[in-house]
Symmetry: D2
């Protein structure tokens, strides 16, 4: 295991917002308590699900402050330091270190079109600047570059990264990576998928970063524990229930973008469950329409969460 001991269920924590788009700290405390009560093994602050690219420095500081207070020392806290380019990412990395998180989550550059070689330099400069463990975050749908198998290996060999969050959707490549790293258990590979966790665990993944884990952390912990115990029938059954629950992310489309429909689905469910005060998303995203709310309520009921 890496110094971070990153493993198990590490939800990307949703960021509750007030009516005037500030971080809703009481709601965030409730969310973190809900996650810890659910038995999660770590928290990933300021990931894509948190609306991180919508949040300014103050909002990001607020999120980390609350999380460190609520969870610090109990489970590893990693924070996304996601911004388009290297030195702007370093500024957020310094902030994250000051706020007391345990590790950083870093993507490739975006908006600017980059290359594997420049991506390696990007990670290297960040590592040089800020002494915290780094989790590489492979999310080509957002940044337009897929981390090559060779890039991940070089970043590990040069001791720049200690873990990978794979949200690429390329399960075949992730499977080869897990095989490549089988003899290097200090490198943690976590899947970003909500619906293929039993698969990934069978393949040797160390854990999972499920956005849907905000809604049902205990379900994901049960899934993880069953898989760790080799009880694949139980793991699959839990996964199937969670796939049913995952339908909440599709209720906004086609009128809402997939991104807003997904985060909107999580926030709507958490609102209906009494975890957050309201279901606002950052502008320009709009709250889901009433029909979607009713559909989500019905899914929560049928999956045992309401």
């Amino acid at each position: 295991m890496s110094t971070l001991n990153l493993h198990g269920i590490v939800p990307p924590v949703v960021t509750p917002l007030t009516h005037d788009y500030k971080v809703d700290k009481p709601s965030l405390r409730r969310v973190i308590k809900h996650l810890l009560d659910g038995g999660v093994h770590g928290l990933f602050l300021l990931g894509s699900t948190s609306e991180v690219v919508f949040l300014n420095a103050q909002q990001r500081a607020d999120v980390m402050e609350v999380a460190v207070q609520e969870a610090g020392g109990r489970v590893p806290l990693v924070a996304g330091v996601i911004d388009p380019t290297t030195d702007r990412t370093i500024a957020y990395a310094r902030q994250a270190k000051e706020m007391g998180v345990d590790g950083l989550v870093v993507t490739s550059q975006f908006y600017t079109r980059t290359s594997q070689a420049e991506t390696i330099d990007h990670f290297s400069y960040i590592k040089d600047a800020v002494d915290l463990p780094i989790v590489a975050y492979d999310i080509p749908v957002c940044v337009q570059l897929k981390l090559a198998r060779e890039t991940v290996r070089e970043l590990y060999d040069r001791k720049i990264i200690c873990a990978l969050k794979d949200s690429s959707g390329d399960e075949g490549n992730m499977r080869m990576l897990m095989r490549d790293f089988a003899a290097h258990p200090d490198f943690a590979i976590l899947t970003g998928s909500e619906t293929l966790v039993d698969y990934a665990m069978l393949g040797g993944a160390h854990g999972n970063v499920p956005g849907l884990g905000n809604v049902d952390p205990a379900g994901y912990v049960r899934l993880y524990n069953a898989a760790k115990a080799g009880d694949w029938n139980a793991a699959r059954a839990e996964q199937l229930r969670l796939i049913e629950l995952f339908e909440i992310v599709f209720q906004g489309v086609p009128h809402t973008s997939p991104n807003a429909s997904g985060v909107g689905g999580f926030k709507t469910a958490m609102y209906l469950m009494g975890l957050i005060e309201n279901r606002h998303m950052s502008r320009p995203n709009k709250v889901l329409p009433d029909a979607a709310v009713e559909k989500i309520r019905s899914i929560l009921t049928s999956t045992g969460l309401l």
Copy 2:
């Protein structure tokens, strides 16, 4: 013409950097003088060519401060306020207004996957927040969304935008847009292409935002003037010379990403011409290798710039 009177050659100004990655103000002053001496009709600060997404708020302020001092009142100054999402863009838009520029250049959201409807809301919120004319910047290669023909029209009809910088590479769609807006001369359409300016002018474009205009502003002004005068033979001849010059952007590849090769080509040329102190780019981009420098020197010579 719009209140901005945006037309003609409006180069996206390169941002010279010092060895420690601060804005190199003396070099920037020389660049702006070079552009104004070349006869350009406006300046586009903080565009993609300026490395805008690499620059923090201080660097962006420095660029605008120098430009307003050097050029303010002589030609329209528009500034890119490019950041992933709406409210972060608004923060930069407020900064730009305070710095005294004449208009804003705004892209769709990026990193987050968005839709045409959310993009319309994005522009609308920015317009509501900051009272400056807005140029829509269509650059799908960076933001992954192409502004639909209908989106541009709705933003114009709702008086949210007054101009379009089209860097989409979709000349057919831009042609249809120019036809759509033929009866609305208050809406300015400028092409972002360096190599198809005579085409765009023939099609009715109001101007051009050429990165290569940093190197040879006078050439682009000659091209524009010839086209305006209907002297298409002269326009084409000048365009062909500039296409030859444009080869400077390909000298870094394949070892350098296209983005770094392009900006690196411009900076190398401007360095060889004595306009900027050094040819650093923002990290992680590296200066072009020696072989590329020599090739660029030779192109500058053959095109009459050295």
Copy 3:
């Protein structure tokens, strides 16, 4: 000029079909007469607009038989020999030679994912097998591979191809190609665009392969002649009228795929103009709905064709 003397307006001839999906020879004769009466400089049989990949060997033979009878010797006749892979393409190339056409139009392989090197071999094997001039057809939207600038050059230098039909939509690359070949007038470059013909002619193109030329060949010939004469105002005016006419291709969407909407628009217009007996397309494409027909009738009227 190449041995083919391919230049000017070379429409990709639509294939009229009977109710039972045979080639409607009388209608095809009328179409070819219409094109020749319009003054076109060549005919491109069995291109994408002809529904070539829907047609079997008998249908292809029927098309070539009629065209050679009607037009043979009056203008150059080139025929698409479009099939997924090399040897199947060669079989169609042999058929085309037997039918008496003057040249072949060849794409990259498709369905199978190929490379620039394999594409060069593909063209080379076809040239070795069948002694006819070859036009390279760059249409990445159909075959998923863009012919690289270097590939086109190598195929020319090795005397494998004598012309290029560029339907890639990458006007910047086509412009560089035209500059590359400026000293090689035996290599003909034709644009596949309906809406950017004046642009391409200004850039040095030798001609145009407009699907819309089936509907209004005389309009495209006027456009070509004006451009050849350097009367860019007249060329632009004709182009703008043809852009208005081009709206007929968008009337089927969103319910119809862009492909069926485009060919359906051409066939509907030709039906309304009395050129073809009915407006059937190959299965599974459906005739355009009544609302589209009325819209197309109205466009034909406003552009002077009805």
Copy 4:
């Protein structure tokens, strides 16, 4: 189970070729015997791995003739009838029925850009024309259209298809499909992946169509049987060995296209194992270079096949 009883390991049979590109029938007989001896549950003739789009009608007939003779009645034989458009596909479907196969494998249209609605019509027309069970083949990397979840469902509900071969690489969507069809065991879902078979079986897949199964059918049958028996540790161990073996498909790149590298890897291995006379592929694909052959020999040795 469907009338086809398609399940288990159904390799897409490689097509051995002679030096003059005819079907090498003795080699094909050896391959089929090798597969049946390995215990496979069905044969998929004329799939992508068979170079189907390179083969003409005679070659396709030869393949089916040999296979029906060697395997007819022992296991289900399905045949790809892959061609760009509907009626040309129907012609191959009629041929396949005449040759005596048990079912057809059908993709969406390609080259022509199509839609979900037109794809449904495409399958429907084929079903109407030829009375054989149809397996839908989802392979967007070749045909550019992904079969939507709703499309698969409609094709099933209308009794047009009885099975799906999913080679889309979208494991999340396939997982949702398997959940959708959990109550419909007459619909068979098979994965086209070589490296994620244990995953797919855990998710409820009925079987697998592994190109690599040509090389090691017994290994895939062991994997399938272990998974069916719920022995996931054994399944995973076998899968890991097969992932190691799968490295044979990467030995040609970057000089060879991924397609030719993959089929070339299979043919080279089968040649080294004495199954086929030579390792030719259809033109323009070239046999793999010597270095690749040696690497493949070494992989075969380390995985116990040589």
